[in-house]
Structure formats: structure tokens, C-alpha cells
């Protein structure tokens, strides 16, 4: 095997790892989630399962965003309520908080946002004490169960456990910061009973993600009033502590604390048939007597959220929140035309496409499948997805000519460069080869890259992770392994090479026999 040189993919110090076992078809998976994460492998090996799980985890911890309206995750809501239940801070704790707030508050403009400072140990201890009790937060685990069931569209999460007799499915999210012990957010999907556990090691310094300076200044001003006996309970520092706890929790969760969007594999069909689907759901929802032989239709959470997002795009509140430059790039370089939304009086949207140089719009159902495929991507990039968000796309190659697959892969790299975290599932060797080229490109200096396709989009190997979902016979199920970039093969080898070789060998045999038969 001398000819093969693989680029090792050692993760950065600041990483997010997802470990999953006994879940759906997956026996075991240990995945380092990078800015661009690729799931690849044969059909029915659990790529979408893991992508939906990731979506559910994001929804629970971080929340989802619908056209600029953020829906806070259940976990943060529970965390916020826990403060009210847990009671008051001691006098000594308040003093620690006031000292910390005064240090931060001085010489800051009230419009400023205070970012990412390390908390002094006196304050960090208070936060750790709260986090250690998180497993006892009322209903948090039940909320998590419900969110997972909603995203998968199952009645009972036990259906998602691979081998119930072997116990629960176990999921662990680990966020490492520098060389310190990682934060861990672990939970089980119960075969019988579940758990939710948060571990914030004493040795790992705590930072907060972001707090507005005015919040700190207001709390201090109210503290002075409180000392003068002119403010009521609870102490104003309780409120600041609450915000600080949530901000620190966002830091421990990293990207999982940010909104997530999911573009399901059947998005093209939804773009064509969303009116019919919504009409059917509304019609049946209004029925007075649900009939046992005709139960209410159920959509998975990923599909329902996608539909809701589409409908919301037609709402009058709609504002541009996303990355319009990237959306325009997709329209200009791939679609060769513009995607538009026409709002009806009720706010229900129609999606239209106008090819370059045309004067009229075309309804999406009259356009090519490539346009229907990419229209939601354009709309999401233009109006919804923001830097720091996670965008999960199932099979971005669907309905795209290989040249367009390569172009679209470069656009995904551009989204990563703009700060979006991207997770894709794929069966496309073109996508993998285009990614390999972008990673290999990072070995060149900017000057050397000049004139090469995607020169401005080079990604380092720490930014891209490709994971192979491999079926295994014993125990039967899927294991997930990282695919290192193979420099000799010029791709992240996912087994497609064997298919190419087999096809070639068939061709060679047929040709040799044909030549012989022709009497050469």
C-alpha cells in the first residue's frame, strides 16, 4: 500500500464531538463535527438518522429560527425557569457577581456587547453549582424525548433504539476547549428510562458567549438602589446571573447552542406540492370526528419545520436576515436566473423562477428539477441562515449535473467561509472530489492558488470532516469511521472506486470477448 498517502485529520483543540451508540441502524459513531461535515455511505446505513438526531439536539439545546423569529430551545427555557425555582443567591455570591460586573462595566459603551471573557473563579463556582443540578431540572429530559420524537415523527422514542434489550441509545456531545477536560452533555434515548447529564469540569475555565453591556450596567444600577432599600426582591443580580448562566451554557454547547435549519431530501417534492400538503393537513385538522380508518397525517419534525419555514417566507414580517450575496451567487452561477416569492393576500407564498433575460416568471413546478432543488437553498441563504447557524442538507447533489454538483460544493465552502456550519449527506463522488480539491488547495499559498477554480475557498483539513457509514455484519448495524483525504486517489475514498473498477473490468471483459468474436 506504499502508493497511498493519507492526510491525517487530527482535530483542533477547540472541537465538538458527537458520540452515538445503539441508535437506529447505528451500532457506534464517534464524530468530530467540523465547520463542514460530510456523511457518506451506502443507503440505509443511518446517515439521515444521524443528521436528524443532530437537528433534534440543536432544536433542544439551541432552538430553531423561523424567518428571523428565533424559537428558543427547550433546554434554555428550562434553565431559565430553574433559577426561579432554585431560589436566591447568598450575600457572598452577590458580592462576587457585583465585583465581576463592575470590572466589566467600567469604560464600556452601553451599546457594546461583552464577548467571551473568562469568568473569575468566584463567579465560575456559582455557575458550576447551578449546572451540576441541571439533571434535576424539571421535565428537561421529557422535553428532550419529545423533541427527538417530533423531529423523527415517531410515536415513541423506543422505536429509535437499535436493540432495546441492550439498553438505551446513548448520545454524548463533548466540547473541548484548549487542552482542558471537555464539557459533556450526555443523554440517553430510553428503551425504558432515560437520563440527561451535564458535566462542567472544575479545571476547565468558563467563558460566557456574549452579554450586552447595558444589561450589566442596569444590574449594577439596580444593585445600588437595592442597597438603598429602593428595590424589591429578587435581587437584581439574580437576573444578571440568569443571563450569565445561559450565556455560559451557550459557550459550553458551542455551535449546538445556535439555530439549525434542515433541508430534507424530498425538498423538491415539497416545493412542488406544499399547497396540497398544507391544504390536506388543514382540511383534516378541521374534521370533527377523526376516523380510525383515516388517521390524521403526520409529518416528521424536519419536514414540518421545512414547510413552516416556507410558509413563513411569504409572511409580511419577512426581512432579509441571511447571506444574500451567497444566494445571489447560487442564482448567478448555477441557476442562471432568480428565485422569487410572490405573496398572496393571505400571506401564503408562491415560489417563482425567472431565467436570465426572461421577462416573465415561471411557477416552480414548471421549471427543471434542478431549480426546484436549489430554490429552497437560495431562499434559506437569502432570508434565513446566518453566520454561526448550522445548515443540514440531505443529498445536495440531487438533480444536479456533475458540473453543477462541483459548483454547488464550492458554494457550500463559501457558506462555511461566511461562518455557516454545514452538514451534508451525500452519495456523490463529485462532491467528495470537489471537497478534496478545496482541502488540497489549502496546501498552496494564496499566490500559488491564483487561477485555480475555488482559489478563494480553500478549506483546511480541520474545517472538513468526511465520515463513512459502514454496514457491519457482527454485530449487525452501522459503524461510522472518518475518511482521511487520500492524496493519491484525489478524494475522500468512500468505496466508489471499487464500483468504477468493477464497471471498467466488465467493460474490459465485454470488449475482449467482442474483439475475439469479431475475429480480430
Amino acid at each position: 500500500m506504499d502508493g497511498i498517502r493519507a492526510m491525517p485529520d487530527k482535530p483542533d483543540a477547540d472541537t465538538l464531538d458527537l458520540s452515538v451508540s445503539n441508535f437506529g441502524p447505528i451500532v457506534e459513531a464517534n464524530i468530530n463535527l467540523r465547520p463542514l461535515t460530510v456523511f457518506v455511505g451506502p443507503s440505509n446505513t443511518g446517515k439521515s438518522y444521524l443528521a436528524i438526531l443532530l437537528y433534534a439536539v440543536h432544536c433542544f439545546f439551541g432552538g430553531i429560527g423561523v424567518a428571523g423569529r428565533r424559537r428558543t430551545g427547550w433546554f434554555m427555557r428550562r434553565l431559565s425557569r430553574a433559577r426561579r425555582a432554585n431560589g436566591q443567591l447568598t450575600g457572598e455570591s452577590i458580592k462576587s457577581l457585583v465585583d465581576w460586573a463592575e470590572t466589566l462595566s467600567s469604560a464600556r459603551d452601553s451599546e457594546e456587547r461583552v464577548l467571551g471573557d473568562v469568568l473569575p473563579e468566584s463567579v465560575a463556582q456559582l455557575i458550576r453549582a447551578r449546572f451540576n443540578n441541571l439533571s434535576e431540572i424539571e421535565n428537561a429530559r421529557e422535553d428532550l424525548d419529545l423533541e427527538i420524537a417530533r423531529c423523527f415523527g415517531v410515536d415513541a422514542n423506543a422505536d429509535l433504539v437499535r436493540r432495546p434489550h441492550k439498553g438505551s441509545a446513548r448520545i454524548k456531545l463533548r466540547r473541548s476547549v484548549s487542552e482542558n477536560p471537555p464539557f459533556e452533555h450526555a443523554f440517553t434515548i430510553p428503551a425504558s428510562s432515560g437520563s440527561l447529564r451535564v458535566s462542567v469540569p472544575d479545571e476547565t475555565p468558563l467563558r460566557f458567549a456574549d452579554i450586552p453591556a447595558w444589561h450589566i450596567q442596569d444590574a449594577l444600577a439596580e444593585h445600588v438602589m437595592h442597597q438603598a432599600g429602593r428595590a424589591h426582591e429578587p435581587h437584581p443580580m439574580e437576573d444578571l446571573f440568569d443571563s450569565l448562566s445561559i450565556s455560559v451554557m451557550r459557550y459550553t454547547l458551542g455551535p449546538t447552542s445556535r439555530p439549525v435549519r434542515y433541508l430534507p431530501a424530498d425538498r423538491t417534492g415539497v416545493m412542488h406540492a406544499h399547497r396540497v400538503v398544507v391544504g390536506s393537513l388543514v382540511g383534516r385538522a378541521a374534521r370533527a370526528d377523526p376516523r380510525p380508518d383515516s388517521p390524521l397525517p403526520v409529518l416528521s419534525g424536519v419536514l414540518a419545520d421545512f414547510l413552516e419555514q416556507l410558509i413563513d417566507l411569504g409572511g409580511k414580517r419577512r426581512r432579509v436576515f441571511g447571506l444574500p450575496a451567497l444566494a445571489t451567487r447560487v442564482e448567478r452561477e448555477i441557476l442562471k436566473g432568480a428565485v422569487r416569492i410572490r405573496q398572496s393576500e393571505t400571506g401564503y407564498p408562491s415560489f417563482l423562477y425567472r431565467p436570465d433575460d426572461w421577462k416573465d416568471d415561471l411557477p416552480l413546478m414548471n421549471t427543471s428539477s434542478m431549480v426546484s432543488e436549489l430554490a429552497p437553498v437560495v431562499l434559506y441563504l437569502r432570508d434565513v441562515v446566518r453566520p454561526g447557524d448550522t445548515l443540514i442538507i440531505e443529498e445536495p447533489e440531487s438533480h444536479l449535473h456533475p458540473a453543477m454538483q462541483v459548483e454547488f460544493t464550492r458554494l457550500l465552502a463559501a457558506a462555511v467561509k461566511a461562518g455557516v456550519r454545514v452538514v451534508i449527506t451525500t452519495h456523490s463522488e463529485w462532491v467528495l472530489e470537489a471537497l478534496a480539491n478545496l482541502v488540497r488547495l489549502s496546501a498552496l499559498s494564496p499566490k500559488q492558488r491564483k487561477g485555480i477554480a475555488g482559489a478563494d475557498l480553500a478549506l483546511t483539513r480541520h474545517e472538513v470532516g468526511a465520515w463513512l457509514f459502514k454496514p457491519r455484519k457482527r454485530p449487525r448495524g452501522t459503524v461510522v469511521e472518518e475518511i482521511p483525504l487520500d492524496i493519491e486517489a484525489g478524494t475522500f475514498p468512500a468505496g466508489y472506486g471499487e464500483i468504477t473498477e468493477n464497471l471498467y473490468n466488465d467493460w474490459a471483459r465485454i470488449s475482449n470477448l467482442a474483439q475475439k468474436a469479431a475475429g480480430h
Binding site: 500500500m1 506504499d2 502508493g3 497511498i4 463522488e429 487520500d486 493519491e488 486517489a489 484525489g490 478524494t491 475514498p493 472506486g497 471499487e498 468504477t500 473498477e501 471498467y504 473490468n505 467493460w507 474490459a508 471483459r509 470488449s511 475482449n512 470477448l513 474483439q515 475475439k516 480480430h520
Partner: protein
């Protein structure tokens, strides 16, 4: 073919093995010109080596004996699609008794016998 007693000058291009197959499945017999590569094989280089094997086989086997021929490249590497496709090009075919043969690819560790059976060469 690297043996000291192998025919032909040692410094000339040659294949790794010549395999003469005359089992029950193939009563006419067959010559296999076989080249082994640890990594990812290059079609042009391998074709030259397998051609040397084919030329030697033509000298060793009398012209009056009916025999089939299969050129095989066994490799241990992974190949980019374009490299696999290069094996299909005309200049990378191997000539034996005025017939052009396309090289068959075999993964190291796979069964040569099985591959030859699948190739069904007369």
C-alpha cells in the same frame, strides 16, 4: 520473472509473472500476464510490462497451440476515476497474437482464479 533463470535480459521491461492456466474450466489453456503494484497503478507503465510478458509468452508457446490470453494488473491502491479510465484507452491495450486485449484490474488479496473465471476468455 525476476528470477535469475527467467528468459530475456534482466534490465529489460518485464512483467512480474506469466501464469499458464490449463485447468478443467479452460481446457484450451490460457496465459496470464500478471503485474503486481503496491500502490495505484499507471496504465501506460503497466501496459508496457504486460506487453513484454505477452511477447515472451508468444515465444514460449508454440504458434500451433490454441491458447487464450488475459493481461491482469493487481494493485493495492485506490485509483482516481481518470486513472481507471486510462486503462480503457487503445494505447494501453496489450497485444497477443495480433489481438488487442484490455487489461483487467484486480485488487491485491482478491482471487485471481475467480477473476479469470469471470473473464470467461476462450
Amino acid at each position: 520473472m525476476d528470477h535469475a533463470d527467467a528468459p530475456g535480459p534482466a534490465h529489460e521491461v518485464r512483467c512480474d509473472y506469466l501464469y499458464f492456466d490449463d485447468d478443467d474450466d479452460n481446457p484450451r489453456g490460457r496465459v496470464v500476464s500478471l503485474e503486481l503494484k503496491k500502490g495505484s497503478p499507471r496504465a501506460g507503465e503497466i501496459a508496457a510490462q504486460l506487453q513484454a510478458g505477452a511477447d515472451l509468452a508468444q515465444r514460449l508457446v508454440g504458434g500451433d497451440i490454441a491458447v487464450g490470453f488475459t493481461p491482469v494488473a493487481a494493485h493495492g491502491g485506490r485509483m482516481h476515476r481518470h486513472r481507471v479510465n486510462s486503462f480503457a484507452q487503445r494505447e494501453n491495450q496489450v497485444s497477443f497474437r495480433r489481438t488487442e486485449y484490455r487489461i483487467e484490474l484486480l485488487k491485491c488479496g482478491a482471487s485471481l482464479k475467480g477473476a479469470l473465471r469471470r473473464s470467461r476468455m476462450p
